[in-house]
């Protein structure tokens, strides 16, 4: 339903992020453009090292972009510094992958969740407590029971609830979820995914949901962006993208999901293309890595495809 409207809440334009490692430059994010409408969930998928977390961090200005813009509600975050940036960050929050590691083990839950309020200058302890209690109840924890306890007393799923509470305490508009369920068990994963959906409706959030598992991403996203080696290779509405993947890499990711049905004849896993595209400059289309291995033929027309176009003769699509 929710297409990128004329007035997107978050707009990323030609973002480039580079790391320099041992004298070499790694293109973590190469020329990525995205739009996320108000109230929309955009899923961002890709394998480890494809740059999806870097993209999330660059949006929050936790990583300096080399070039490009990050427009949040019309303001270019890349040009903001100091107090204006800090003010803007209150509206954009982040949830991390490892819920246990992202909580300070020596601080009490009540203090951890109240910290964003302290930083935001909410001086009245009563007011802070009221807001912490409200958000803890919202994520399904009893404030009276949990506020005085330490992170090690909680399971991974509960810690992730605490992290979600902390990210929501400032009433943000935009939340970046960076692999929020990949460290969790199957049964707890479903609880947390449902909770995120609930919180999105309750607080009117816009989400950027980063994960490597397409099934998880499909469960929560209106649109999905597939990232490979620092570039977006396909962006489309979830249903359409899963029903008819335009890009061979998307098809490969979908095929790789384990199906809990022994009768499903699974194609053998494709060898993923060489991941060694870490040259100083993004390669021309001609030198893009070919996808090898068995793969079903894919439609030639691509919705929003980056450098290796499915129609390209460089792409070896074989059975």
């Amino acid at each position: 339903m929710l297409q990128a409207a004329s007035d997107p809440l978050m707009k990323v334009e030609n973002l480039v992020v580079e790391y320099s490692v041992g004298g070499k430059t790694i293109h973590a994010v190469s020329d990525v453009s995205l739009e996320i409408a108000r109230g929309e969930t955009l899923g961002l998928v890709g394998e480890s090292g494809c740059g999806k977390s870097t993209l999330g961090r660059a949006v929050l200005q936790l990583r300096q972009a080399v070039s490009g813009k990050v427009l949040f509600d019309g303001h270019d975050l890349t040009t903001l510094k100091g107090e204006p940036l800090r003010k803007m960050r209150r509206r954009v929050q982040l949830i991390f992958q490892d819920p246990i590691a992202s909580l300070n083990p020596r601080r009490r839950i009540g203090d951890i969740v109240a910290e964003p309020l302290v930083i935001a200058g909410v001086k009245d302890p009563e007011e802070r407590k009221r807001r912490v209690d409200e958000v803890l109840s919202a994520v399904g924890l009893d404030p009276a029971l949990v506020s005085g306890r330490l992170p090690h007393e909680f399971s991974g799923g509960q810690c992730q609830r605490i992290c979600i509470a902390r990210s929501l305490v400032l009433n943000p508009e935009f939340v970046i979820c960076d692999e929020p369920v990949s460290a969790l068990d199957v049964s707890i994963r479903a609880q947390i995914l449902n909770l995120l959906e609930e919180m999105k409706a309750r607080y009117g959030l816009t989400l950027l949901f980063i994960a490597h598992d397409l099934a998880v991403v499909k469960a929560v996203s209106d649109r999905v962006a597939v990232m490979y080696l620092g570039r977006l290779c396909e962006v489309g509405p979830s249903e359409q993208l899963f029903a008819r993947p335009a890009h061979p890499y998307t098809a490969l990711l979908i095929e790789a999901i384990p199906v809990p049905d022994p009768d499903v004849v699974r194609p053998r896993a494709c060898r993923s293309a060489s991941r060694r595209r870490r040259s100083p400059r993004p390669p021309a289309v001609a030198s893009a890595p070919a996808v090898r291995g068995p793969m079903r033929a894919v439609p030639a027309r691509c919705r929003n495809c980056a450098w290796w176009h499915p129609a390209s003769s460089r792409l070896a699509i074989t059975h």
């Binding site: 996203s221 990711l253 049905d261």
Partner: protein, 328 residues
């Protein structure tokens, strides 16, 4: 159960903790024959890793194991440390979840492979080296000769797991235990590693145990599945039979909680409410009853026993199994 390569008989593992005794494995019977694959499925803390460690005789020092672990006709619980050391790595191999911590970071891949090979097989250095190269090639590592001189940190997660598998396969084991072999890996790499394990298992006619929390991983890749909950096996069946007709509500709930590709976005997932019981405070009744939607009557007062359904191979422990005609 006769003729099984490995049979675990009435295994119980107790761990003393400051909060009291923790029964990690509670009266488990299992068997795997040569050339067969068994999947063990369950959530974190259900005892699946402790069970595999009991098989390998690698339990923590404080742990107490009772019951028998019969491997090739020998009871592993009675073997000396010396004999066990000869067996592990040779006939009994294991692949752990995290290849970064299971490989030694300060030794090259070559050293780690050659060490294992020379420990168990009577080969000289040149032969062991040659075998290492062949093994790395067999597990799909490009340029195996150059890899021998590399350290684990120079390889990606998927490549490291391939090396760990090569080490496990190096002495042609009879039984390979893969403990969450793909949990630390990406979806595409996961499929490659599972295919690799299946291929090597077939080729070498090994017995294999795959331990995982994802029912999707065991479907189509195992002959038999045992579902564990709170230290017990709550359902065990040949894989096709299990997926055709699940009897235990926990198995059904575990499957339902998986996000599926054919479901529209924003459909709430049928999550299992609550969490597993505290293993130091065992429940009187069925351990799953507090989270089970079918729980009623004696579920909270009496423990259901693992007993056969329509066929002798399909076992489940439940008073109110999911309907298949026969009442409980």
């Amino acid at each position: 159960m006769s003729g099984a390569l490995l049979s675990v008989e009435d295994a119980v593992v107790d761990l003393p903790t400051p909060r009291g005794n923790l029964r990690a494995v509670d009266h488990i019977d299992l068997a795997v024959g040569a050339g067969r694959t068994l999947g063990i499925v369950g959530e974190s803390g259900c005892g699946k890793t402790m069970l595999s460690r009991a098989v390998l005789q690698l339990l923590p020092k404080k742990a107490k194991l009772s019951g028998r672990v019969m491997f090739n006709g020998q009871d592993l619980t009675t073997l000396s440390a010396e004999k066990l050391r000869k067996l592990r790595g040779r006939s009994l191999a294991v692949v752990f979840q995290d290849p970064m911590t299971s490989l030694n970071p300060v030794l090259t891949i070559g050293t780690q492979l050659i060490e294992t090979i020379q420990e168990h097989l009577e080969l000289d250095l040149a032969q062991a080296r040659q075998r290492s190269i062949e093994l790395l090639a067999a597990v799909g590592i490009p340029a195996p000769e150059q890899r021998l001189a590399q350290y684990p940190h120079q390889l990606s997660g998927g490549m490291r797991q391939r090396v760990a598998i090569a080490i496990a396969l190096s002495c042609e084991p009879q039984l390979l235990i893969a403990d969450e072999p793909t949990t630390a890996l990406d979806v595409t790499i996961q499929a490659q590693i599972l295919d690799l394990l299946a291929r090597e298992q077939q080729r070498r006619h090994m017995a294999m145990i795959i331990i995982t929390h994802d029912l999707g991983v065991v479907a189509g890749r195992t002959d038999e599945v045992a579902v564990m909950y709170a230290g017990r096996v709550v359902e065990r069946a040949p894989t096709p039979a299990l997926f055709k007709q699940m009897r235990m509500p926990y198995t059904e709930a575990l499957l339902a909680a998986l996000p599926k590709l054919d479901v529209a976005p924003h459909t709430p997932l049928p999550a299992i409410s609550g969490r597993p019981p505290d293993p130091t405070r065992p429940l009187k009744g069925c351990s799953f009853s507090p989270r089970c939607r079918y729980s009623a009557g004696r579920c909270t007062t009496e423990k259901p026993r693992l007993s056969p359904a329509e066929t002798q191979e399909h076992l489940y422990a439940c008073f109110h199994p999911i309907a298949a005609g026969a009442g409980a």
